[in-house]
C-alpha cells in the first residue's frame, strides 16, 4: 500500500515532464551552439570552393558560353550531347589510354615500393641509421612540382647532365623531353623518387606499433629475420595496405594536370596529353569550350567514384577492411 502511494506521488511529481524536455532541448542547443560557430567558417569555405563547383557541373549538360548564368530562362539544355561529342572525339581513345597507362604503371611501381621500403627500414639493425635514412627519403616530398620538373630538364634536357656526359664520351645529344617514349618513365620514376619515402611513413607508423613480444616469440620459434618480416611485420600492416589499395584504385584515373602540364612538349604530346590536361586546354585556353571541358571532367570524376566503390565493395567482401 505504502509503496503504491509512493509510486503515485512519484507520478504526480513527474507531471511537468513535457515542458522539461523542451527546456532540455534548448539547453542542449545553447550548450553546443559554440561548436556550430566553430565549424561555420570551414562549412563556408567548403561550400564556396567545393560545393559551388559541384553545382557548376550542370553546365556539362548545357550549351554554355562563358558569362552565361548556370540557371536562367535562356539556358539551353542539351542533355548528354557534350558527352557524346567526347566519345566520338578522335582524342577520346588516346586520352583514355594515356591516362590509364600512366596511372596503372605508376600504381604497379609506386604502390609496393613504400611497403617494401618501410619493411626494410623497420628491419634495419641500427635504429639511428634507419631514422637518418627515413629523413633522407622524406626530403624530396617537399620539392615543388615546378622545381622537380625543372630538375628533370637539368638531368634529361638537351643540355642536361645525361646528355653532357654522353657528349663527353662522344655521344649524340638527345632531348628526352621531346621523345614520346621517354615521357612515361620520366614521369613515373620522378614521382616515385619524390614520394616513396613519404608514402612509407604511414606503414612505418603501423610497424612501430607491432608488439616487440611478437618478434621475441617468433625468435624463440626459430624464425629468421626475413621470416619475421614476412610473418610478423607484413601481416601487421596489411589492414593499412588494404585501405591504401582501395584509395589508390579510387584514384586510378585521377592523375592531376599540374605535373603533366609542366612536362608537356610538342614532341611528347601524343603520350603526355591526359584527360585532365585536355580539360584544362579545352576549357581555359585558346577558344574555351567550357561545357565540353566540364563534361569531360565530370566523366573522369564519375569513373573515379565508380572505381572507388568497386574497390571498396570488393575489399569488404574479401576482408574486413573497407573505407566505409
Amino acid at each position: 500500500m505504502e509503496a503504491n502511494a509512493k509510486r503515485l506521488s512519484l507520478k504526480k511529481e513527474r507531471a511537468p515532464k513535457k515542458k522539461m524536455t523542451k527546456e532540455k532541448r534548448v539547453r542542449y542547443f545553447k550548450d553546443n551552439s559554440p561548436y556550430l560557430l566553430m565549424v561555420l567558417p570551414a562549412v563556408l569555405v567548403v561550400f564556396l570552393f567545393n560545393y559551388l563547383p559541384i553545382y557548376g557541373v550542370l553546365i556539362a549538360f548545357q550549351d554554355f558560353m562563358p558569362g552565361d548564368k548556370i540557371l536562367s530562362d535562356s539556358t539551353i539544355w542539351v542533355g548528354f550531347q557534350n558527352f557524346e561529342r567526347f566519345f566520338s572525339d578522335p582524342q577520346f581513345w588516346p586520352l583514355m589510354k594515356n591516362t590509364f597507362l600512366i596511372c596503372i604503371i605508376g600504381f604497379v611501381i609506386g604502390f609496393p615500393l613504400p611497403i617494401i621500403v618501410s619493411l626494410m627500414l623497420n628491419a634495419m639493425k641500427g635504429k639511428k641509421t634507419a631514422k637518418v635514412l627515413q629523413t633522407i627519403f622524406n626530403g624530396p616530398h617537399f620539392i615543388s612540382l615546378v622545381v622537380l620538373v625543372g630538375m628533370l630538364t637539368l638531368f634529361f634536357g638537351r643540355y642536361g647532365l645525361v646528355n653532357n656526359i654522353a657528349a663527353h664520351f662522344g655521344g649524340e645529344r638527345y632531348s628526352y623531353f621531346l621523345e614520346s617514349s621517354a615521357f612515361r618513365p620520366m614521369y613515373i620514376l620522378s614521382s616515385n623518387w619524390q614520394d616513396f619515402g613519404w608514402s612509407a611513413i604511414i606503414y612505418i607508423a603501423a610497424l612501430s606499433n607491432v608488439d616487440p613480444q611478437q618478434h621475441e616469440a617468433a625468435i624463440l620459434d626459430g624464425a629468421t629475420r626475413f621470416q619475421r618480416v614476412m610473418h610478423v611485420d607484413l601481416p601487421a600492416i596489411m589492414p593499412m595496405v588494404s585501405v591504401m589499395l582501395i584509395m589508390s584504385i579510387g584514384g586510378l584515373m585521377g592523375v592531376g594536370y599540374e605535373k603533366a602540364l609542366l612536362m608537356q612538349t610538342d614532341g611528347n604530346l601524343a603520350v603526355s596529353e591526359l584527360i585532365s590536361t585536355y580539360v584544362y586546354k579545352r576549357g581555359l585556353t585558346g577558344v574555351p569550350d567550357q561545357a565540353y571541358a566540364t563534361a569531360i571532367g565530370l566523366f573522369n570524376s564519375i569513373i573515379n567514384v565508380v572505381l572507388l566503390i568497386i574497390a571498396n565493395t570488393t575489399s569488404k567482401k574479401f576482408s574486413e577492411n573497407s573505407l566505409w
Partner: protein, 384 residues
C-alpha cells in the same frame, strides 16, 4: 545540508540501450555512499548523471532539495575526482587547483588562501609550482582530490579514483580518503568495481548490476544479509560457495537445510523469520562463506585440490562430488592435515547458511519484495 535524492533516474542511449533503470536512492547529508558493481553495471553512468555530464533520460535528481535535472554541472555545487585524474597538463598544480575559483571570479587573495589551505591538508604544498607530468601517481591523485576540495562542494563525486594506482598505493590512498572524509565532512558519492574498497569506505553501499540496483545497505548488511545470489557472490572475498539443488525442509514445525544429503537444523533467528514469512519446503541454493567453513568434523566431505598457506590462514580449494568448495581456515584452529590430495570432512554453523530461492535467486529470508518493487531494494526488516 546536502542530500542527493534520485527518483526513478534512468539513462537510455540513442533510444535503444538502457544503461540505468529507474534508480531510487536517497543519500543523506554527509553520508559516504559507494556505488559498486561489475563493469557496465551503470554505476559510473549514475554518478555522471549526478555530475551533469550525462543527460538524464527520465526521472528526477534533487541536490539539497533543488531539482537539478537541467542545471549545468558548474551550478550543481558538486565536484568530481576522475579515474585518470584529468589534470590540466599545461597548468601548474597551483593553477590546476585555482582554475575553478578563477572561473568563479574569486579575488586573487581568496584563491591563494584557499589553494594553499587545501595544498596544506593534502601535503602537496611543495609541488604547487610543478606541472602534473612531474608528479607521481599518488601525488597526481592528491591534486585531483585537491581540485575538487577547493570548491567546497556540497557533494563530492569520485569515479574509481584509486584504480589507476598500484596495490600498495591504493591501500594507502584508501586510508587517506577515510581521513579526508572526517576532515571535510561533506556528502560523498564514490564509484568503484572493487568490493573491498566499497566495504571499507562506504557508510552505505549500492550494489548494481545490468543497470539495476540490487541492494542498498550498510557494509554489514550487504555482507550478512545479501538479498540475492548476485549480491552474495559479489560481496566478500573469497567468493561465497553456492550449493545448487539443495532443499529447505519444514518438518514438525522446524526448518532444516539439506545440503548434499546432510540436514542442518537452522538457527533460532532463521526459524523465527521463516515462520513469520510462512516459508514452505522448497528447492534452494545454499550459500556458505569460505570464512564460515570448519574442517575436521561434520558429514560433508571433499578432496583437497589446492591448499595455499597464506600466513594467518589456509586458503583451500576442495571438490565434493558436484561442487568446488573454497575454505578459509585460520591457521590456529587447524588440527587436520590439509595437504593436497587429502580428503577431509567439513561443516558449517547452520545459522550462517544463506538460503536462496532456486527459481528467483532471491534470499528467502532477506529479500524484501516491497522495497524491490520500488527499485530501492534493502534487506527485509524483522522486529524480533
Amino acid at each position: 545540508m546536502s542530500e542527493v535524492v534520485m527518483k526513478g533516474l534512468k539513462k537510455v542511449y540513442d533510444n535503444k540501450v538502457t544503461a540505468v533503470h529507474d534508480v531510487n536512492l536517497e543519500i543523506k547529508d554527509k553520508e559516504f555512499i559507494v556505488l559498486v558493481g561489475p563493469s557496465g553495471c551503470g554505476k559510473s553512468t549514475t554518478l555522471r548523471m549526478v555530475a551533469g555530464l550525462e543527460e538524464i533520460s527520465d526521472g528526477e535528481l534533487y541536490i539539497d532539495g533543488k531539482l537539478v535535472n537541467d542545471v549545468a554541472p558548474k551550478d550543481r555545487d558538486i565536484a568530481m575526482v576522475f579515474q585518470n585524474y584529468a589534470l590540466y597538463p599545461h597548468k601548474t598544480v597551483y593553477d590546476n587547483l585555482a582554475f575553478a575559483l578563477k572561473l568563479r571570479k574569486e579575488s586573487k587573495e581568496v584563491i591563494d588562501k584557499k589553494v594553499r589551505e587545501v595544498a596544506e591538508i593534502l601535503d602537496i604544498t611543495q609541488y604547487l609550482k610543478r606541472k602534473p607530468k612531474a608528479l607521481s601517481g599518488g601525488q597526481r591523485q592528491r591534486v585531483a582530490i585537491g581540485r575538487a576540495m577547493v570548491r567546497d562542494p556540497k557533494v563530492f563525486l569520485m569515479d574509481e579514483p584509486l584504480s589507476n594506482l598500484d596495490a600498495k598505493l591504493r591501500n594507502q590512498m584508501r586510508a587517506e580518503i577515510i581521513k579526508l572524509r572526517s576532515r571535510i565532512n561533506t556528502t560523498f558519492m564514490y564509484v568503484t568495481h572493487d568490493q573491498t574498497e566499497a566495504m571499507t569506505l562506504g557508510d552505505r553501499i549500492v550494489i548494481m548490476k545490468d543497470g539495476y540496483v540490487n541492494q542498498i545497505g550498510t557494509p554489514q548488511e550487504v555482507f550478512n544479509k545479501p538479498v540475492n545470489l548476485f549480491v552474495a557472490g559479489f560481496i566478500g572475498m573469497p567468493v561465497m560457495n553456492f550449493f545448487d539443488n539443495c532443499k529447505l525442509l519444514l518438518e514438525d514445525g522446524k526448518y532444516y537445510a539439506e545440503i548434499r544429503g546432510v540436514k542442518f537444523l537452522l538457527g533460532d533467528f532463521q526459524q523465527k523469520a521463516l515462520k513469520q514469512i510462512n516459508a514452505k519446503s522448497c528447492d534452494i541454493v545454499a550459500g556458505i562463506r569460505p570464512q564460515h567453513v570448519t574442517v575436521g568434523e561434520g558429514e560433508l566431505s571433499a578432496k583437497i585440490e589446492v591448499s595455499e598457506m597464506m600466513g594467518s590462514e589456509y586458503n583451500i580449494h576442495a571438490r565434493t562430488d558436484k561442487d568446488e568448495v573454497v575454505m578459509l581456515i585460520p591457521t590456529v584452529d587447524l588440527t587436520t592435515d590439509v595437504s593436497m590430495g587429502k580428503t577431509i570432512n567439513f561443516t558449517t554453523r547452520p545459522h550462517l547458511i544463506q538460503l536462496f530461492d532456486r527459481e528467483t535467486g532471491n534470499n528467502i529470508i532477506w529479500y524484501d519484495a516491497e522495497s524491490a518493487a520500488n527499485n530501492a531494494p534493502v534487506c527485509k526488516r524483522y522486529d524480533f
